[in-house]
């Protein structure tokens, strides 16, 4: 009964959110509505195709149309998409295989620097001939593939010694290795300048998007190049994130995914049925790293700038929080977690900071008779945006206490024939 209700309600809400977003793209309300529908499409019980159509309608119709009026929507979409792919990668390592990895941002850095170094003049510093920057077409796309392979290779090499450790020990070693990658990026500006050190690398080539421009023109849309690039990266990130989701689902329902969950549940039992621990863990590590590498290369091109600052320990923790919040081992959970934490970071905390700032600037004086307080004296240290870490900590604590399975807990698939028996 419930199923039929939601399968009618969901598309209706979808259409409403779509209209709302297209009509008033700047309104927080329409953004909220769209997000709510997307969340519903991921979590409620309804026929698959209805959920898929609703999801795609919002993401591929409503957001692009609204994005032309308010490019912030693209920015938000890109961020969520990148983090969703990262969270899905880490979900394989931490969620499915149960290997606590605190250095995941390192692989993201490797992907980003792969394109940043060769997609800018940086490589001229150590390869003579002035061949660089490499043109965006076709090299950008080739370098996404290269970044995937490099990240996976690094994952394998790091995994070789690290994966012999278990639990907390593995966490400490991966934490160290993640820092090593960042420090290498920070310090490899001498004796040979490879990464340009703490200054970072800029500008980084982007792929040409003449084709997108002509498509838009034939549709009668004229947009500034910056906006077109926003749309391009939005679509690219969506596309790659979509592939990552597909790969995740396929692996999850294969002997590889089952082996990952098996070693998470009980290593000894898994070995007793012939599962090789090292091979299985390494595969998880390399797969997770590969997703991160791909998104790194895209991130570099999108930002036009990379520096070691983008790949800190906090970044690794951010992605981990996404997985924990969404639900360990849950694919839909990782997506929802990524969206929630990204929104928290760039919407909620920032807005709260803005509110606080405006209160301070207003010079409002609170007078309680016996105690007066001038808000202009409010310390700038109180800005919520500076409390990211504390908020993450709170999320982890609260989730562990109240919802250890996450927002959308992992649900092992029931046997397909259940449907016949129902």
């Amino acid at each position: 009964m419930k199923k039929t209700w939601t399968s009618i309600l969901l598309p209706l809400c979808g259409v409403a959110a779509l209209c709302l977003l297209v009509c008033c793209p700047r309104s927080k309300l329409s953004l909220l509505a769209a997000l709510a529908v997307l969340f519903a499409a991921l979590s409620v019980k309804a026929p698959k195709w209805i959920k898929a159509v609703t999801f795609i309608a919002i993401v591929l119709i409503a957001v692009p149309i609204a994005g032309f009026k308010d490019s912030f929507l693209f920015e938000l979409g890109i961020q969520i998409g990148i983090y969703a792919a990262l969270a899905l990668g880490l979900n394989i390592v931490v969620g499915m295989a149960g290997l606590l990895d605190l250095g995941y941002a390192g692989f993201f850095a490797i992907g980003a620097y792969t394109w940043a170094i060769f997609g800018s003049g940086q490589a001229n510093a150590f390869i003579a001939g002035g061949h660089f920057p490499l043109p965006g077409w076709p090299y950008f796309y080739l370098f996404i593939v290269l970044a995937i392979m490099l990240a996976a290779l690094t994952g394998t090499l790091i995994g070789l010694p690290a994966l012999r450790l278990r639990g907390d020990y593995l966490a400490i070693v991966t934490l160290g290795l993640g820092q090593t990658v960042r420090l290498m990026a920070n310090n490899l500006d001498h004796p040979v300048n490879i990464t340009n050190g703490p200054q970072g690398i800029s500008p980084i080539e982007r792929p040409p998007i003449g084709w997108l421009d002509s498509v838009l023109r034939t549709m009668g849309i004229h947009a500034p190049p910056a906006l077109e690039y926003s749309l391009f990266f939005y679509l690219l990130v969506l596309f790659v994130a979509g592939i990552v989701v597909l790969i995740n689902i396929r692996l999850d329902r294969s002997r590889f995914g089952r082996a990952w969950v098996a070693i998470r549940e009980d290593e000894i039992a898994a070995r007793s049925v012939g599962i090789s621990l090292m091979k299985t863990k390494m595969l998880a590590f390399a797969t997770g790293a590969a997703f991160s590498g791909a998104m790194g290369a895209i991130f570099a091109a999108k930002q036009l700038f990379v520096s070691p600052e983008s790949f800190t320990f906090l970044q690794s923790i951010t992605i981990l929080v996404m997985v924990l919040l969404g639900g360990m081992g849950s694919i839909r959970g990782a997506i929802v977690g990524a969206a929630a934490v990204t929104l928290l970071n760039i919407e909620v905390l920032k807005n709260l900071s803005d509110v606080l700032n405006s209160v301070r600037q207003s010079g409002f004086v609170l007078n309680l008779g016996f105690w007066q307080f001038n808000f202009a004296q409010l310390s700038s240290q109180l800005e919520p945006a500076k409390y990211e870490r504390m908020v993450f900590g709170l999320i982890i604590i609260l989730m562990t206490i109240f919802r250890p399975g996450g927002l959308i807990p992992e649900r092992r698939h029931r046997l397909e024939m259940e449907k016949e028996e129902e």
Binding site: I247, R250, L251, S254, R255, F256, R258, A259, V261, A262, E265, D266, I268, A269, A270, R271, S272, V273, G274, I275, S276, L277, L283, E410, R412, H413, R414, L415, E418
Partner: protein, 258 residues
């Protein structure tokens, strides 16, 4: 001879848990290992399945010395086992537990999975049918979609055996399969163990404290005490062996019996 232990020794610090044990298990035999608590029975199983590396001696499985091989390599050679305190993949379904057991018999590569190559579907389909067959065999067909951790105790035991059978082992090691079972369940287990031997042609080694079961089902029995093998023979021989009675009941027990 399917399995032959030669002077197998395993010690932890000053404690010699398994001390110079020699054992020969014949093909399609039901062989029981009994002994008081702490006699080294489970340690012996752990040496056999590669969880422990023996300090000395050889473990010949067929023609090959498997002493010191990794657990997964030994499992792939065809030794399946269950555990004293059941070790299932709790948050996976019953069906998936069996599918994990079939891991070494599912042949497709990583890339074939990503691109959903025909072999992926063929192998998954084959494995699924085999898993359902096995579930039928251990009587869990109707619990297939339940989470393993939600099963009642007796069914968990059966699922663990089912998972070990999925390996298609030549040799199956059962560590206290009757522990915690009521008389009816123990009776069914006796039948089941015989069925596994006759229908599937699998050799079984049991660790068991339930003497009635041991005496009823075993072809031969070995007795361990303080890591040493103190007796070996048919159930009738072992039952009357004075050393065995002493190990179980103490010296006075022996006198009373005699």
């Amino acid at each position: 001879m399917i399995l032959s232990l030669q002077n197998v020794t395993k010690s932890f610090g000053g404690l010699t848990a398994v001390d110079q044990v020699n054992l020969d298990v014949r093909e399609k035999e039901i062989f029981s290992i009994i002994g008081p608590n702490g006699a080294g029975k489970t340690t012996l199983f752990n040496v056999l399945t590669g969880l422990y590396r023996p300090d000395g001696g050889r473990v010949m499985f067929g023609e090959k010395n498997i002493a010191g091989s990794s657990p997964d390599a030994i499992a792939s050679r065809g030794i399946g086992r269950t555990f004293q305190n059941i070790r299932l993949f709790g948050s996976m379904t019953v069906f998936e537990n069996i599918m994990v057991g079939l891991h070494t018999h599912i042949h497709y590569t990583y890339l074939e999975t990503l691109f959903h190559a025909p072999r992926f579907f063929k192998e998954e389909h084959k494995a699924k049918n085999r898993a359902l067959e096995l579930l039928e065999y251990v009587g869990l067909r109707h619990s297939a979609s339940e989470l393993a951790r939600n099963l009642p105790y007796g069914k968990q035991r059966r699922l663990e055996i089912g998972r070990a059978l999925a390996l298609n082992p030549k040799l199956l090691l059962l560590d206290e399969p009757a522990a915690g079972m009521n008389p009816q369940e123990t009776f069914e287990l006796t039948d089941f163990i015989r069925k596994v031997r006759t229908e599937l042609g699998i050799t079984l080694i049991l660790i068991e404290h339930h003497m009635q079961l041991v005496m009823k089902v075993s072809d031969r029995v070995a007795v361990l005490d303080y890591g040493r093998k103190i007796a070996e023979g048919t159930p009738a021989e072992v039952r009357t062996n004075p050393d065995v009675i002493e190990a179980y009941l103490g010296k006075s027990g022996r006198e009373e019996r005699v």
